[in-house]
Symmetry: C2
Subunit: 322 residues, 2 copies
């Protein structure tokens, strides 16, 4: 069984590769919910939906989020009725949020809703929200604290990011199955997601980091930073906001002590020794995932790195005992 | 000022004629909300929406409800996710329910929401829900009590209708403006709507019937029954369920003591004397509203009947005094 810590687009694409390499039923994705927000009174879980739509084969491939060929008739009417519509929600996408909200109000947990939805959409990978309790990622800016979606989507990451907080995370419990999956995992993968506001949020849920640290499984992270920049999203200013260099060195520093291997792109091969200095092994490969074949190869390289790490650990244990 | 008691499609078409004859701003429609129901956790107000969409010029003309050329992408996804989708809701239509629900949850009243929406859709007629308090029209059937929408839409009015009740109506207060409109009205019109479950529901709200009875304005009803059958909808079995004949005689009996004039179709001219025997005057005209001209003519005939009733009352008052 493979447990994958997942944010949005990068994680979804990585998982598209992984399901080509191992049976989807053997994968558990533990997904960030710090970006969740209510729009029009509806509960939107952006990262869960990105991963779910992607694995269901219905994601909008150009955006990486939302549903392919989705229309926005409802959103236009919402605007006519005076609603703020800066967060783009297609008609089919809205249905997901309508149904999720209805079920949550009826007493379902986010885990239960998510599991029902991924089954309805024929997604074999188990999708677990990091927590069923509300957590809100907020960014400190000169304009004050902004919800992550406001910072990223409404204001297009134009505000200077001064800091990050995860409101509610101290009280948040890992969703049912999260700690169990981390304990049972033969491999733990940290997907190429924003280390600060996607993976960082998951790791901030009490118990998650400890479960990873206590696991005997190899922990492999795939760097979302290539040649000093993220493939997608606001990782650069947010890494800087918490004092991390926007590079594979910064990623390695962020995961220092937690991971066994960092998978980095060939473009960053010259930084491999710096990463090793942080205590992680390094796998250098192609990490840009343009098509299915590249996704599969990255998944294979990641699992190969995990196998090496297993051997290394076993060797170390033997050598220490011997 | 003209106050119009309104159900759904028949009332909406009548109002389309009335706005051709008098300025829309001088019309207040008091609309049935007994058919309101939650679908997918969203507050749907079918009669308010039918009237609003019709007056906004966006109604689906073939159905008489819903929005013209509306798509159903969200509904398809709701079905995929396991929701019951027997109540057809288009994408633009859903937006209205999403926004209504959001505002109601934020503490707005249904009156406030309705007024904001009709203004956003450039509807000059004031639209008042009969009440801001919940009232549910239910039909007794051999299968038990069914919400009106279940009876009509889900089960297609196939169950034998044994009785009718308006759950919550005793506690319902007329919405702000309803009694004021009835008191201030120069003419009160009962639109050609179901007398039992559209108009009957409005009249059951405590204070409404008394306000009409106490008004010095002429009260003119337009029969929704033509030649022994309703133009649209389940009036026949529901009238029978409460012991009313499905005819203009039954309509007159239902409004006995309340109205001054009943406007009936030429097809029912032979029953005019029977209607007069119930105490109402009769205007015979074309009441089927196929196009704009017919709608306008029916509105003109209705207002002419009101003027006659005004003169008659004035004459009676003088003659009684003399």
């Amino acid at each position: 069984m493979i447990a994958v810590l997942a944010g949005g687009v990068g994680a979804a694409r990585f998982l598209e590769g992984l399901v080509q390499v191992v049976p989807p039923e053997t994968i558990v994705a533990i997904v960030n919910t710090g970006d969740d927000m209510a729009f029009h009174g509806l509960h939107v879980s952006p990262d869960i939906d990105i991963v779910m739509y992607t694995l269901a084969g219905i994601v909008d491939p150009s955006q990486g989020w939302g549903i392919r060929d989705d229309t926005t008739y409802a959103l236009s009417m919402l605007a006519t009725l005076g609603a703020d519509t800066w967060f783009k929600l297609g008609d089919q996408d809205l249905a997901v949020h309508i149904r999720r909200t209805e079920l949550l109000r009826a007493g379902w947990t986010l885990s239960q809703v998510t599991d029902a939805f991924r089954r309805a959409l024929n997604v074999g990978v188990r999708l677990l929200p990091m927590s069923d309790d509300p957590v809100a990622t907020e960014i400190a800016t000169p304009a004050g604290w902004l919800h992550f979606q406001q910072y990223l989507v409404q204001r297009r990451a134009r505000d200077e990011a001064l800091g990050i907080r995860f409101v509610g995370v101290e009280q948040a419990r890992p969703a049912p199955g999260v700690l169990e999956a981390l304990r049972a995992a033969e491999v733990i993968v940290i997907a190429p997601s924003n280390p600060v506001v996607s993976i960082g949020t998951i790791l901030a849920v009490p118990g998650v980091r400890d479960a990873i640290m206590a696991s005997s499984a190899p922990v492999v992270a795939v760097s979302p930073i290539i040649a000093g920049a993220p493939v997608k999203g606001p990782a650069a200013p947010l890494m800087r906001a918490v004092g991390l260099e926007v590079s594979v060195r910064g990623v390695a520093a962020c995961y220092c002590g937690l991971i066994d291997v960092l998978v980095i792109d060939r473009a960053d091969a010259d930084l491999a020794d710096d990463v090793r200095a942080s205590g992680a092994e390094v796998t250098v490969t192609e990490t840009i995932m343009r098509g299915p074949a590249e996704k599969r190869r990255l998944a294979e390289a990641t699992l190969a790195a995990a196998r090496t790490a297993v051997r290394r650990r076993a060797y170390q244990r033997v050598s220490q005992e011997g």
